[in-house]
């Protein structure tokens, strides 16, 4: 990408073609993310993209950036480390409902509390795709799978409500089949100063025969169309997220709060660029304390 021209989504494509099942919602997520980055004109070298494990985690290999495809459930701590070491980077993490809400649930809650300036995309297909269709933390109760032949005995986890309770500063939900809206949500999330979460309803066309594109179309609504809804009202956001029935899409909550980097009083110069040989005075002062 040359600095002279306006970037397009193609500038964020890798030579490796994306490899999900035909019709998978994850294609929509990837495409929206590329468009959002192009719109924000963030150079690929300044993007650190950290993904978890599962079908969704494969997205790390499909975005032209400094990509990190680590251990299952650990995308957020890695992303936090990257951001703190170099706050000049745009840091984005992505993963599925299993990666973020099951094995990585502890990190999810604590990253929300810290509020680092990172964007987290949760690709929610309500099933475990890569291991062939077991129930996930967001699967409906009663969902019949190979590991829950009598129906899923667990209640689904409400990830966004959990995040709101933990002190989230930006919550949005999109639908993989609504590309324009999804680009707008991702753009706002990346621009948000703090930890921004975009949960994307991303249907699994192979294993989840319950939460299909058609099912979502019947069950979602745009929260912006609700009379008088203000995404700055925490109580209203909690109500919208926890009310039984239709699933709200759009920006559900946002607030401004100092980031983790601010609260750690990180210097403007990224830690990764510090001169490591310039602290002789500090070292000598420390040594004196042990005399």
């Amino acid at each position: 990408m040359t600095a002279a021209r306006v970037p397009t989504a193609k500038d964020y494509a890798t030579e490796t073609a994306a490899w999900w099942c035909p019709g998978c919602g994850d294609y929509g997520v990837l495409s929206a993310l590329k468009s959002a980055l192009a719109g924000l004109a963030i150079a690929p070298e300044n993007i650190a993209f950290v993904a978890g494990i599962g079908c969704s985690g494969k997205i790390a290999g499909y975005l032209h950036s400094y990509a990190f495809h680590g251990a299952h459930g650990r995308a957020l701590p890695v992303a936090t480390g990257v951001k703190l070491a170099n706050r000049a980077l745009t840091v984005i993490a992505a993963g599925g409902d299993g990666d973020g809400y099951a094995i990585g649930a502890g990190h999810f809650v604590h990253t929300v509390r810290r509020n680092p300036d990172i964007t987290y995309i949760v690709m929610d297909n309500q099933t475990y795709g890569l291991t062939k269709g077991q129930s996930s933390p967001t699967s409906a109760g009663g969902y019949v799978t190979s590991t829950s032949p009598a129906g899923n005995p667990d209640n689904p986890l409400n990830g966004l409500a959990l995040a709101l309770a933990a002190g989230a500063t930006f919550l949005a939900r999109g639908f993989a089949a609504q590309p324009k809206a999804l680009v707008a949500l991702m753009t706002a999330a990346i621009a948000h100063r703090g930890f921004s979460i975009v949960e994307v309803m991303s249907p699994c066309v192979t294993f989840n025969k319950h939460n299909t594109y058609a099912w979502f179309r019947e069950n979602v609504y745009d929260i912006a169309e609700r009379d008088g809804y203000a995404p700055t009202d925490r109580g209203a956001a909690f109500d919208a997220l926890t009310r039984d029935g239709a699933i709200p899409l759009g920006i559900i909550y946002r607030e401004n709060r100092p980031t983790f980097e601010d609260r750690c009083a990180l210097p403007d110069l990224p830690i990764a660029q510090l001169d490591l040989r310039s602290c002789a005075r500090e070292y000598a002062a420390i040594a004196r304390d042990y005399r």
Binding site: T14, E45, I47, H69, A71, G81, V82, C264, L274
Partner: protein, 588 residues
């Protein structure tokens, strides 16, 4: 009589101030020009429970505990009950009689008893029971024949920050301690031979030295989760890192901590974590990830007695196999083991340089008996510490398409590019990948990349910290050991050699890659080889056997009760098995 070594134990209840008093005594010994080693034996709780603090001072640096305790300052009966058998014949006890009387059955006739109502004097004469410890210190110093001026100077230094009133109170407490000794017409039990004071010596914990070493080595990012006995390092870094532009994160668990440092190191910061057994177990998966992603990280293991919760405040060397073998799949890794406080500093610096030059995880393995013990130490010249970052592309740009993150290399190390550098975009995948980073399960590629990574173990051989040979190089009797056992083994060696029984001791400082060549040449010609370690199963001995094969002359000297070796526990089995006692009378 003048002594060259003195070991004093302060025993009481957790939280009663024994540790502060012990620290003051340690500082006083240091002012006397002596070498100091301290050992804390405390339960895993904050208040209550028997605790004791041992301070050993002598002319020889880097020793550990002595064979026996010379002086016991017992603040309660439990301290006497628990430790009276550890006193050497001719030693002395200061016992606080304020609330308990001493039963006759405990009154060993071969030690001297000094019984004073310390707490009552503190309350009645000084109005503050809390200064009981300082009164005990004054009494001990008088009985040990320590220069009263040095005692007062140190008390002033210790309490200076709390204001003149507190300083005065404690100085009066010292007076009171000396007075009770004088009133009892007790003569000094012994006189420590003071040494010329060496300027420039410091006194710090092994953990302080590790943290300081990391800082000077350029560590600017630490993530950790509090765990005994590693917490000191997290606290130290939390205090000092912001001052040099770095940051510390107290993570939600060890999984987060290790993954955070992977992220920070990937982005270009020198990063580390510090943990102990249970936390190390949680970090295992990410260590494999660091190996395959070729990310330089430093992981400090402050080993304690396991398994599971084990004994959190007690020492052991059973984490060795975990550090060397843990994880599914195979990665190159390094395990370094300091044996002194100075080495704790130096090997931590080495760990950062090796990690970055060879792009792999490096462990620094220490144990509770070293990392939570204070010693007098002379650190290396801080200005001369080298920061070697290896093949790093931290600025400029590279040509996209030409640059390959995992490019083949003779030494196994490919140039590492940092995020932000134009053209260097790539995928760092825990899945097997090709030189460009693209995920690949191709058989030939797998073989090539596996060999590339593992080749580092060979190419780094010459740069790893070498073992140190102590004692007589061609002696018939040989000892192999590492870590906190360096002190007691070195003392056992000095004593045996001094008694006419030549002994050689190989102190290992790199435990992985295992120094096969050094082991092989060290055991050559030995009639007996003793492997000294704090494990039940003989983890180090098994590694040595892996190099030297079945050998009748190999003997294990093992201790796994959570306490460090005393030199006599190493001397005794050697004398017994080699019949060295028939050759010379070994003085203890």
């Amino acid at each position: 009589m003048e002594q060259t070594s003195l070991e004093v134990m302060f025993g009481g209840q957790g939280g009663d101030g024994s540790l502060t008093t012990g620290d003051a005594i340690a500082a006083i010994f240091k002012r006397c020009g002596l070498a100091v080693y301290t050992y804390k034996d405390f339960p895993s709780r904050i208040r209550g429970g028997h605790t004791n603090y041992v301070i050993r001072a002598g002319s020889e640096p880097d020793y550990g505990l002595a064979d026996a305790v010379d002086a016991l300052v017992a603040f309660d009966l439990e301290a006497v009950t628990a430790h009276i058998d550890e006193l050497r014949p001719g030693g002395f006890v200061i016992f606080d009689t304020s609330s308990e009387a001493l039963p006759a059955r405990l009154r060993r006739p071969d030690v001297h008893w000094h019984e004073f109502p310390l707490a009552r004097i503190a309350k009645d004469e000084l109005g503050r029971e809390i200064v009981r410890n300082t009164i005990a210190l004054g009494a001990f110093a008088a009985l040990a024949g320590i220069d009263p001026k040095i005692v007062r100077d140190e008390i002033r230094r210790t309490y200076e920050r709390k204001g003149e009133t507190i300083v005065e109170l404690n100085l009066r407490a010292v007076d009171a301690g000396e007075r009770v000794v004088a009133q009892a017409h007790a003569q000094p039990e012994q006189r420590l031979a003071p040494l010329p004071i060496e300027d420039g010596r410091l006194m710090m914990l092994g953990n302080d030295a590790i943290a300081f070493g990391a800082l000077v080595a350029g560590c600017r990012f630490m993530a950790g989760y509090p765990i005994t006995p590693a917490t000191d390092i997290l606290e130290w870094m939390a205090r000092e890192l912001p001052g040099v532009g770095g940051v510390v994160v107290q993570a939600e668990d060890e999984l987060a901590a290790i993954n955070m440092i992977l992220g920070a190191a990937f982005a270009g910061a020198r990063a580390m974590t510090a943990t102990s057994g249970p936390g190390q177990a949680l970090m295992t998966e990410a260590i494999g990830l660091a190996g395959v992603l070729e990310i330089p990280v430093v992981v400090i293991e402050c080993a304690r007695a396991g398994p599971s919760t084990g004994m959190p405040t007690k020492t052991e060397q059973s984490a060795l196999n975990h550090l060397i073998y843990s994880g599914h799949g195979e990665i190159p890794r390094v395990v370094l083991a300091p044996g002194t406080v100075r080495e704790s500093f130096e090997l931590t610096v080495d760990a950062f340089n090796l990690a970055e030059r060879y792009q792999l995880p490096v462990f620094v393995l220490t144990e509770q008996a070293l990392c939570q013990s204070k010693s007098t130490v002379t650190l290396p010249d801080l200005d001369a510490v080298a920061v070697e970052r290896g093949k790093l592309i931290a600025g400029g740009s590279v040509t996209f398409g030409d640059y390959q993150r995992f490019a083949p290399a003779d030494d196994g190390v490919s140039p590492r590019v940092l995020p932000g550098v134009p053209g260097g975009m790539h995928l760092a995948a825990g899945a097997e990948h090709d030189p460009a980073g693209v995920v690949s399960e191709n058989a030939a590629n797998r073989k090539r990349l596996m060999e590339k990574r593992m080749r580092k173990l060979e190419s780094m051989r010459d740069e790893l910290p070498r073992p140190i040979v102590h004692g007589v190089a061609d002696a018939d009797i040989a000892i192999i050991g590492y870590g906190s056992n360096r002190g007691p083994i070195a003392e056992a060696v000095d004593r045996l050699c001094g008694s006419g029984v030549p002994v050689r001791f190989l102190q290992l400082r790199t435990l992985w890659p295992f120094p096969d060549g050094d082991i092989r040449s060290f055991v050559r010609g030995a009639q007996h080889v003793f492997v000294v370690e704090n494990t039940f199963t003989g983890q180090l001995e098994a590694l040595v056997r892996g190099v030297v094969g079945p050998l009748d002359i190999l003997h294990g000297v093992r201790k796994y009760d959570g306490r460090p070796f005393r030199p006599i526990e190493i001397v005794d089995p050697i004398v017994r098995l080699t019949h060295a006692g028939e050759l010379a009378a070994v003085q203890s």
